[in-house]
Symmetry: C2
Subunit: 275 residues, 2 copies
């Protein structure tokens, strides 16, 4: 399993991925799931991958050389000459379809689904930043102000904090912190997501970044965040009063007149019928 998250803000982009790959619990390895494509002062793109590792590695290999031709005399669009991130995402889709042509039938014969999912985002000079989620069929969707982030892999544990915090106006470093909390919750609950983490933070219109970090067990910030979050969450939990039942005096009773309108199904003797 995998957990990757990418966030598109007005101020820039945040990418975060774990590095655990498993084929069963007894075959766990470390594979990095993030790759950066950079051409100075022209384009900056990041690819995150989840799903079958053989497929995602093939896609990454082919993406380097894939040419998308829309007509016969077309010279071909590549990720390096595409004039928009939309076209670059189409090239990625074409690379996935090429791997599908090559491998899908054989995989199916072995009972393996053609399963890969990707996040692809960045900026090409001449337009704003864009962020896409790309599916196994090579189709894709784009992040919007209403849904400014994408997750792939084991996404559920880390979703609540993203929903509570992220808007397009969130500052870049705060969004990076949010992505790390989201990852921390996922690491805690799912053994198949593991350190080290790769994080890239990109500032709008820079076409490069020096905010690239590999986070392992020794990283002081991640250690601090992990410990603080766990401890303070517990303090918040303790600060909320326990439920009081009827007969006890409280301003926020758990049992109230209005909530007794739907009595629970209760069978009190063997002879009772289901009600």
């Amino acid at each position: 399993m995998t957990y990757c998250v990418a966030i598109k803000l007005n101020a820039g982009l945040v990418f975060l991925s774990d590095s655990r790959t498993n084929a069963g619990l007894d075959q766990i390895n470390t594979f990095r799931k993030m790759i950066v494509y950079e051409k100075a002062d022209d384009r900056f793109m990041v690819l995150l991958s989840a799903g079958n590792l053989s497929i995602s590695q093939s896609v990454r290999e082919i993406l380097q050389i894939e040419k998308l031709k829309d007509s016969k005399n077309d010279e071909g669009t590549t990720i390096w000459n595409a004039t928009s991130m939309f076209d670059a995402a189409r090239v990625l889709g074409a690379a996935i379809r090429r791997v599908h042509e090559r491998d899908a039938a054989s995989l199916q014969q072995s009972g393996v689904d053609f399963n890969v999912s990707l996040i692809f985002g960045g900026q090409i000079k001449g337009e704003g930043m864009r962020l896409f989620q790309v599916y196994s069929a090579g189709n894709f969707i784009e992040a919007t102000p209403e849904t400014p982030y994408f997750q792939i892999g084991e996404s559920k544990y880390g979703k609540p904090v993203l929903d509570r915090v992220i808007t397009p106006e969130t500052p870049l470093d705060e969004a990076a912190k949010c992505a790390l909390v989201s990852m921390d919750s996922t690491l805690k609950s799912n053994l198949s997501v593991g350190l080290p983490l790769d994080m890239v933070v990109y500032e709008v219109n820079q076409f490069q970044t020096n905010k690239v970090v590999c986070i392992d067990e020794q990283n002081p910030y991640f250690k601090m965040l992990h410990n603080s979050w766990g401890q303070k969450l517990r303090e918040v939990f303790d600060s909320i009063e326990d439920p009081m039942w009827n007969g006890e005096s409280t301003t926020v009773p758990l049992m109230s007149q209005s909530s007794r309108n739907m009595p629970l199904k209760k069978i009190s003797t063997p002879e009772d019928k289901l009600i």
Copy 2:
């Protein structure tokens, strides 16, 4: 979808279930998923169900009359005369198998899995409290001090807080609060889990309870908990410092010497090879 959770503590048992059932997003209904079996001063049992509603309703119907015979002359064990919760859980398993015999083949012809999962717990006079998770095949597992709770249905969003708080020593009302926080996180993230909630809190050796409540949108305690939890979680998030990058002074740098040992895969020009 559904979310149910049950917790076994030294002090008693907590059961909580939502009430949303859906067959596609355009067919959402309210069905209660909790049922209480009670025989004064003799036994107190609670059943929670998730999965295919037609199966779980059939199981509940049959459970009332199911007799488990271990030998030819055996009078038959029912949930009303079983001398242990283990035997009562076996009766429940037998009820599931009876529904399986009746319906599984037809369901399979329609491409529907025989999918039901149940939590069954309580106390029968003569032994301590016990809590079981029962599967579609009628087999079951029992909660232990190391794993004192079970969840069925949409379990991921609500798992982290249970893991952080619950131990066998947790007081009963605190565990009830924890179950409600767990449910609140699930409600926030999954549309197919919905109010009202049913909650039962059982105190050890009582063989009855008056702590039974149906919680709807108007419940003052649940409203308070929902608002406080969301707001305080955000305060905790804000109280943790944002990551600082290299060059800036901080005691907990995100980028440190030790974390730069594994450089990220970076392709800087079209000619670069994948490294």
